[in-house]
Structures are given as C-alpha cells and as structure tokens.
C-alpha cells in the first residue's frame, strides 16, 4: 500500500514522514522546505509492507508553483492508494480547504490533525468532525510522536464517503467551500474562538524580530555566534580529536606497509595521497556538522521566515522578493537543495536569478576552503567567517542589481506573501540528527569522490607523460596540464599550476580544492591535534603566495560555479538551456572579477605596487564596464518602463 502525506506547507508532513520511515529529511519551520516528492518504506516499528510518499505542501489543488504542481500531479494521477491529509489543528479552516478538495477524488482519505501539543485553549470533537467530513480523523502530534499508530490503524480500512459530492466540486468557488467548512466546524471546536484579535506570544516576538532595525542585527548576531561556535570553539574542539585519530591512523598504516616491505610508491599513494588528502578534508567535517546543528535550531524556531520577511524590501531592489532568501538559507548546507528550493518561486525570471545567485552563498563543502585559508593566512582575524558570508551577501545584491539593470527588469510588482509560522522551541534531537546526516553525507563523499579525485591527482602529480615517476613535481603530468590554464589566472594573482589544479578539481566537489592542495603541497593533514594548521607559516611559504593572493584564490573558489551536481540542479530549475548557460557564464565571470579586484586593489592598497597581469586586469575591467553600459542602454530602449507583474 502506498500512502501519500498531503497538506498545507509547514503543517508537519516531513516530521511525520521521518517518524514513520526513520529517515531524516530536512525539516524547518517555514513554508516550502519540501520541494520534491520523497518516498520510503514504513519502518519495522510501525509494520512492514507499506510505503510513504512525502509531497510538497500545497494550499489547494490549483498549482501556483512548481513544487505544488509535483504534489498535485501525483494526487490527480492517483499514484497512491490512500491519502493521509495532515492538517494543522491550529489553522483548521485553511487546512480543511484542501481536505474538501481531496475528498472529491475516489481515494480513501484519513485526516490527521497535527500539532495537538500546540493546541492551547480549545478541544476538538474528533468524532463529530469525522462524521461531518465523511472520513476518519485522528488527532496527532508528529513532533511529540503521539497518535502515529492511530493513523496506521485506520489507514488500512479507511473508507471515505464524499459528503460534499452534491454540494462542492473542484469548480466551486472558494467562498462556497469556506462556507461549507464553516458548517463542518460548527460545534466541532469547543472553547470559544475569540471574536476580537488576541495577541499571541509569536505576535509579541514579532513586534521586535520583524522590525528591520532589530531583526537584521539579531540575524547577524545569531549567525556570527553560530560561526564562532562551529569554527572557533565547539567544532574546533571536536575536530581536534578527529584529526588526532587520522594522524595516528596514517602513522599506523605507514608502519604496517613499511614493515611489510610494500612498494614505496604505493605506500606514498595510500598514506600521502589518499589518507593525507582525504584526511585534510575529513578534518573539517566537525566544523560543518556543528554549523548544521546550530543552523537547524534556528531553522526550527520560525526565525527564518521572518528573515525572508525582513529582507523582502532589500531583495525587491534587485528585482527579487523575500522568497529568494529561503533558497539561499537552505544553500548554507548544500547548494543542491538550495537551488531546488527556488522552485517555490513562481515567476520564471526571479526563479532563474535565485537559482543562479544561491550558489554564491558558501555551502558546507566550501567551509574547508574558508577554514584552511582563514587559519593559514588570517589566523589573527577571528571574524573571517562572518566577513566571508557578509561579502557573499554583498556580491549577491550587487550581481542582482547589475542583472536588473542589464535586463531592464524594473518596476516589478511583486505580490510577496509568506506564512509566518508560530515560533517553536527547537528540537535538539532533530538538530542532532541533521548534524549526523550532514556528517554522514560528508563521509560518503570523502569515501567516494574525494578518494577517487585524490588518487587521480596523486598519480598525475607523480608521473610524467612517459609514465616515468618524477622527482620534481613541476615535471609531472598534473603540472603540464594545469600550467597553461594557470596563465588565465594571472590577473588574479593565482597563476601557479598547483592553485589552478586545485580550482579545477573544485568543480567536481568543492572539498576537493583542499584535498588537491594537500596532495600538491604534500600537506599530511590540514590541521593538527591542537587544531592549528600544520606549520602554518611553512604551508604559506610552500604555497608561495601572499595573504592577498590567498584571499583572491579563496573567493575565486567561492564564487565560480558550484560543483557539477549543483549545476545539474540549476539546469533543472531554470526555464531554458540558454538561461542556464548564461547563468554559468555569469558565475564564472563573477568569480573571476571579484578575485581579480581583490588581488589588484589589495596589491596596490597593501603592498603599494600593482599586481601581476595589471594591464590585462585593466583591459578586462574597462571592457566589462563598456559592455555593461551598452547593455543598460539597450535594455532601457527595449523595456521602456513597462510594468512587470509577478506573484510569489
């Protein structure tokens, strides 16, 4: 039996899905966390044989956005045997709107009234509601794991009598439907519903947190605290133990292989190439895990929806809306779900732009890059992480503004609306599970793609094209392949083949930038037992670059296109291959220009001298400004102030 979980956004479908299946899908306290269908078998605790499909939330069976269309298509195609309709018990009218539409299909429907733990002063007459709706109704709390078995007990024998058959159909007006819902709820909700507005705790909190003068500083403060805890203190402490373990393991393997008289090259490949290279990446996992734990707490609180609300006026200036903030917040963890979250945006041009801008937010895979360079070159700058994220935000706004000017997309009438959920006390268990899930994903990538890449890089760095082992790494295949490419990076100050090779492997997986640097600069591990970069000065010297070059290289890797998997997600979410190609080119261009400006301006400002490739940089900059000016002129002539109306 296939059971579909259907309901409004943020009604608790994924929480129930995770409980029933034992999965750990992303849960957040805002509308639009789930944007694709996910299915899994029910775990043995609740019985065998059935599977559950979690669908994106929808307010009705009329699709407004791509994620809603996924849910509606599956329901209409009747690809499931039973519908479990999750309804937030605290907003019955809105939830039952969808219920009355679902009852119009010839599928058994079970209504699960969720969040009973948040029901304050009212009592629901379940039997009466069940009678009025003509289907089984159970009262549950997915969060507190209450009433879950009740759903499964009634699902198998669920029979639905469409009591609205002669009254409503899918063409009925919304007011007519709400009128019937009013009748259904008559005498069902016990405990008087106040006739006048009553201020809730969430409303009181919103007085402050939705005020931009308080909300934005609060957001910056929270994020700074999160970065501090995950990068400088708690995460660093855990990384300490892990790196110590990796080093002990590495030494143990070296000892075993030497005693066994193993081939010298194979020993080096295994210990330096694989364990050293992968270890350099794995050593950063605790930082990412702690970051995800803390971010999960904030996501569950309901604060993120307020952030979208506060930033709506800011994003409006670049032709987007507050809805574009959500994909970027999701993108903190991984760019792929972040880009996918852009499908909650209805307007094509806004969705395209959001999908393109989201990877500019440094994802978890880029944290090792930031952590490595921040520690080696900017050890005395404790706020390097917040600064990097702030720069990312500024770049997003600048690029958005430039694209708005170039495309002439002005005078946008946006119609932004976002549900502001009740503030919740975050679940430590859920945050822990999210953290472990992130760690596991990182380990899986390290055990697959990172190992493969590092092995390949080590081989290329060890042999020349005649397959002779090289004494000097500069004579290797890797150096020969990367050197011509490095020439392109001259105006960025990163024209060494080692950095070019690292940047290229970053397109496979961003963590691999650190893995490749570990191999080409023969770092045994990026950080030692005391969470200090091994011989920080030595590493800096080995790389032969200044702090400004390091900054340039770091931002190049942060702002150029994301990994191939994220590019695949971008392609899927954009409305045409042409726009996708333009987006990727723009990302390359942004990474290149930002990096070039940091290097050239930084060289003059700090060292009082122009950087390498200064003339080329000036030509690129002048050409860019000329092209921009021409595009803006053209856009003004073409669009000539015709209002563009979108609804998000």
């Amino acid at each position: 039996m296939k059971i579909a979980l259907v309901g409004n956004p943020n009604c608790g479908k994924t929480t129930l899905f995770n409980e029933l299946t034992g999965k750990n899908e992303h849960v957040g306290n805002w509308a639009g966390v789930t944007v694709g269908d996910k299915s899994a078998p029910i775990r043995s605790k609740y019985g065998y044989g059935d599977s559950i499909v979690d669908l994106p939330g929808t307010y009705s069976l009329s699709a407004y956005t791509a994620d809603e269309a996924i849910a509606i298509d599956i329901i209409k195609a009747k690809e499931v045997d039973v519908i479990v309709n999750i309804v937030d018990v605290n907003s019955l009218d809105k939830g039952l709107f969808l219920t009355t539409q679902l009852l119009d299909f010839d599928l058994p429907v079970v209504v699960a009234l969720n969040k009973k733990d948040l029901l304050e002063h009212q009592i629901i007459d379940i039997k009466k509601l069940s009678r009025n709706l003509g289907c089984e109704v159970v009262l549950i709390s997915a969060e507190k794991v209450q009433g879950i078995e009740d759903i499964l007990n009634v699902v198998k024998t669920a029979q639905t009598k469409n009591v609205f058959k002669d009254i409503l159909d899918l063409n009925s007006s919304d007011s007519r439907r709400y009128e019937e819902i009013g009748k259904v709820l008559d005498g069902v909700v016990l405990g008087a519903k106040p006739s006048a507005y009553v201020e809730t705790k969430s409303d009181k909190a919103d007085k402050f947190l939705t005020n931009p003068l308080i909300g934005i500083p609060a957001f910056i403060l929270v994020m700074t605290a999160i970065f501090h805890l995950s990068i400088n203190t708690v995460g660093a402490f855990i990384a300490d133990t892990l790196v110590g373990g990796i080093e002990v393991f590495q030494e143990y393997v070296v000892g075993v292989l030497e005693n066994a008289g193993a081939n010298e090259f194979l020993t080096a490949l295994l210990t330096d190439g694989i364990i050293g290279g992968v270890g350099a990446v794995v050593g950063f996992i605790p930082l990412v895990m702690v970051l995800m734990f803390l971010l999960s707490l904030v996501e569950q609180s309901g604060f993120m929806a307020r952030i979208a609300f506060i930033f709506d006026p800011v994003f409006r200036k670049i032709g987007l809306s507050g809805k574009s903030i959500i994909p970027m917040i999701v993108g903190y963890g991984c760019a792929i779900p972040g880009v996918m979250a852009s499908r909650t945006i209805k307007d094509d041009s806004q969705r395209n732009l959001t999908a393109m801008l989201t990877p500019f937010v440094p994802c978890g895979a880029k944290i090792p890059i930031i952590a490595l360079f921040a520690t080696v070159f900017f050890a005395d700058q404790p706020y390097m992480f917040p600064i990097v994220y702030l720069v990312s935000f500024m770049v997003i706004l600048t690029i958005g503004l430039v694209i708005k000017k170039v495309t002439g997309a002005q005078n946008v009438q946006n119609y932004f609306i976002i549900e502001l959920p009740t503030y919740n006390m975050p679940s430590m268990k859920r945050a822990f599970l999210r953290m472990m899930d992130t760690g596991w994903e990182f380990v899986k990538r390290a055990a697959t793609i990172i190992i493969i890449c590092n092995t390949l890089i080590f081989m290329l760095a060890s042999f020349d094209f005649g397959l002779n082992m090289v004494e000097d790494i500069d004579a290797s295949m890797l150096a020969a392949i990367a050197t011509p490419i490095a020439f392109i990076f001259l105006p960025l100050g990163i024209a060494t083949w080692q950095l070019a090779a690292a940047a290229i492997t970053g397109f496979i997986a961003k963590e691999e930038v650190v893995g490749t640097l570990a191999v080409v600069y023969a770092m045994e591990a990026a950080i030692n037992e005391d969470f200090e970069v091994i011989n920080a000065v030595g590493l800096g010297e080995a790389m032969g670059i200044t702090g400004i070059v390091a900054l340039s290289f770091m931002f190049f890797n942060l702002f150029t296109p994301p990994c191939f998997a994220a590019l695949g997600a971008m392609k899927a979410e954009m409305d045409s291959p042409k726009h996708f190609r333009m987006a990727v080119l723009t990302q390359f261009y942004v990474g290149y220009i930002v990096s070039m400006l940091i290097y050239q301006v930084g060289s003059i400002a700090i060292y009082g001298t122009v950087g390498e490739g200064f003339v080329a940089a000036v030509i690129i900059l002048v050409a860019s400004i000329a092209v921009f000016a021409k595009k803006v002129r053209t856009a003004k002539q073409v669009h000539n102030v015709k209002p563009h109306v979108v609804m998000n």
Partner: protein, 71 residues
Amino acid sequence: MYLSGATEKVNYRVKAVSGNDDIRAFLSTLGCYENTEIVVLKKTRSNYIIGINGVRYGVDMDIVSAIELCE
C-alpha cells in the same frame, strides 16, 4: 478604505480584492475574499503582517494596496 488605512489589531471585513488573477486566486484560497475577516497585526514602512483565519502572513505593499476593507 484599503488595508493601509486599517488600525493595527482591529478586525475588519474584506470588501474586495484587486490585483492580478493569480494573487486574487491565491488570497482567496487562504480565505481572503469578500466579507471575510482580516486583521493587520503589524505595519512597517515596506510590509505588513496580517492575520487571515488565525494564520499570520507577511505581505508586501503590493498586496496591501490590493485589499480593500469595509468601512
């Protein structure tokens, strides 16, 4: 009177919803159509928090100017 003229935390009834078809249909789905109750919970210079059917929504000024209230 439009939503911008409403006093915070006072219940009003919707007189009409204008704007494009999409937004009118979407608001209607949420229960915001003629003669339904609506309350402005908070006003800021660039957006409002409103309550429809006991649910809070953040809306921009385009939506604010699309909702007309009974006097």
